[in-house]
């Protein structure tokens, strides 16, 4: 029995190590390049690299198990005897390995994402903390809303962008709201309040955890097509929920509507090589031009329709 656990644990440890190395590679390569335009290219370059690392993890742990089963038949026999006897041993071993590797990879990646995701995101976007004296009004609004929602007041950080960006990172007890300088410049105080309420609702609904679980599900079953549909569907639903909760907090559906329209206007401009924008949009608004089953944010129209319905009831 202990042997079986050992065999099953090895790919897990292996995948953990690999995913740690991968994260380090991503962060390090982003640290090397300073210019924004080159950073986006680096992300695009690193992503396939990460993908090939994953496959390498699978293949090499599969080879390891195969080596074990040929050199130490008794060890792997313990595992396989639970599932199937005799001739099917080879297939069973490989399937078990594959399933466990993907599962363990998913778990370790999700754990890194859940516990270090906020730091990684802040590093990627070069977020700087906001001092309370600098943004007295914003802090007051944030504190009032979070008291009303009954969550811990989040930390505020800003990123140096002229375009309006707002998103939340971190777990429920250590949340950070990150906004761009452009958001403070372009949104009216009411719209800013509505979008802050939207982010606080994400914290209240514990969407960080739900997102992590959803992506864990996707990685755990990488060959299952349905898992690729479930993840964005969950995201879209959470987005609607956050919109609704935001309206319950502020009682101002029209402010959120105009904030949504304003932010979508910012990204409706044709961008050339605008990978950063699509990355940033992912947090608050996906491209309004794209829709469909794989979109992680619901289309703007649908969101606005639901908000208009809410407006009638309020």
């Amino acid at each position: 029995m202990t042997d079986a656990i050992l065999i099953l644990m090895t790919p897990y440890l292996y995948a953990t190590l690999l995913s740690l190395i991968m994260s380090a590679v991503v962060i390090f390569s982003l640290k090397l390049v300073n210019k924004q335009a080159y950073r986006t290219r680096t992300i695009m370059l690193v992503t396939p690299l990460v993908g090939s690392f994953t496959i390498m993890a699978w293949v090499s742990s599969f080879c390891f198990i195969h080596w074990l089963s040929t050199n130490y038949p008794t060890l792997s026999h313990t595992v396989c005897s639970y599932i199937s006897p005799g001739s099917l041993r080879f297939i069973c071993t490989s399937l078990v390995t594959l399933a466990f590797t993907s599962f363990s990879f998913a778990v370790s990646l999700s754990m890194i994402n859940y516990y270090l995701g906020d730091k990684i995101a802040m590093h990627l976007f070069r977020a700087k903390p906001f001092s309370k004296s600098q943004a007295k009004e914003t802090y007051e609004t944030l504190n009032r809303l979070s008291r009303k929602a009954g969550v811990k007041s989040p930390k505020l950080c800003f990123i140096e962008r002229s375009s309006p960006i707002i998103f939340t990172v971190g777990r429920r007890n250590t949340p950070t709201v990150i906004l761009s300088v452009g958001l403070l410049e372009t949104l009216s105080p009411e719209e800013l309040e509505a979008s802050l309420a939207h982010e606080i609702s994400h914290i209240k609904n514990n969407d960080g955890l739900i997102r992590t679980l959803a992506s864990c599900l996707k990685f755990a079953a990488p060959f299952n097509f349905v898992s690729y549909l479930i993840e964005p569907a969950i995201y879209r639903e959470r987005e609607f929920l956050a919109d609704e909760a935001s309206v319950t907090l502020t009682k101002k559906p029209s402010a959120l509507i105009s904030a949504l329209i304003k932010i979508s206007e910012a990204f409706a401009v044709k961008t050339k090589g605008g990978y950063f924008y699509s990355l940033a949009m992912g947090f608050f608004l996906e491209s309004p031009l794209r829709g469909g089953l794989f979109n992680k944010h619901p289309p703007l129209e649908e969101r606005l329709n639901r908000l208009l319905q809410l407006k009638e009831t309020h």
């Binding site: 906001f130 300088v181 206007e265 401009v269």
Partner: protein, 145 residues
């Protein structure tokens, strides 16, 4: 200075600066050249006189212009956070940079046809002047290396 300025495309059949920038980018840049030092709201007001546009769109375009090195911005921490924008080059300087970079690129890639077209266009008939022009170009090429 012009080393930091980048554009990604050259559209030979468009007019004015739209050859190298987006039309909205040109409008924002022109508003900024007019206002000199300004905030996003006043830039937006200036651009909105000419065309229908959202303030957030102007902000995004300013982001792009900043990345292209055409606009400088300074973070001000008084009364909340906001940016102060200023153009990093004048219109004249930008035009000069465009002409220089495009011509140099043409000479580098299509040396002979570019030179012969230029000679025809300017109308140099004198053989000696052609030689002078050629040696000048060679000098330019050497300097680049």
């Amino acid at each position: 200075m012009s080393k930091n300025i980048r554009w990604t495309e050259f559209k030979p059949y468009e007019k004015n600066l739209i050859k190298v920038l987006g039309d909205l980018e040109v409008d924002v840049l022109e508003a900024l050249w007019k206002l000199k030092v300004s905030h996003v709201r006043s830039i937006y007001r200036e651009v909105a006189r000419k065309r229908k546009v959202a303030i957030t769109t102007v902000a995004t375009v300013l982001d792009r212009l900043f990345e292209k090195g055409l606009v400088e911005r300074e973070l001000k921490r008084t009364r909340g956070l906001h940016y102060e924008y200023r153009p990093s080059i004048t219109k004249r300087q930008l035009e000069n940079t465009v002409v220089r970079d495009v011509l140099e690129g043409l000479f580098e890639t299509f040396g002979d046809s570019a030179v012969s077209h230029l000679i025809n266009r300017v109308g140099i008939r004198d053989k000696q002047k052609v030689e002078e022009f050629k040696s000048y170009l060679d000098k330019l090429r050497l300097e680049r290396k």
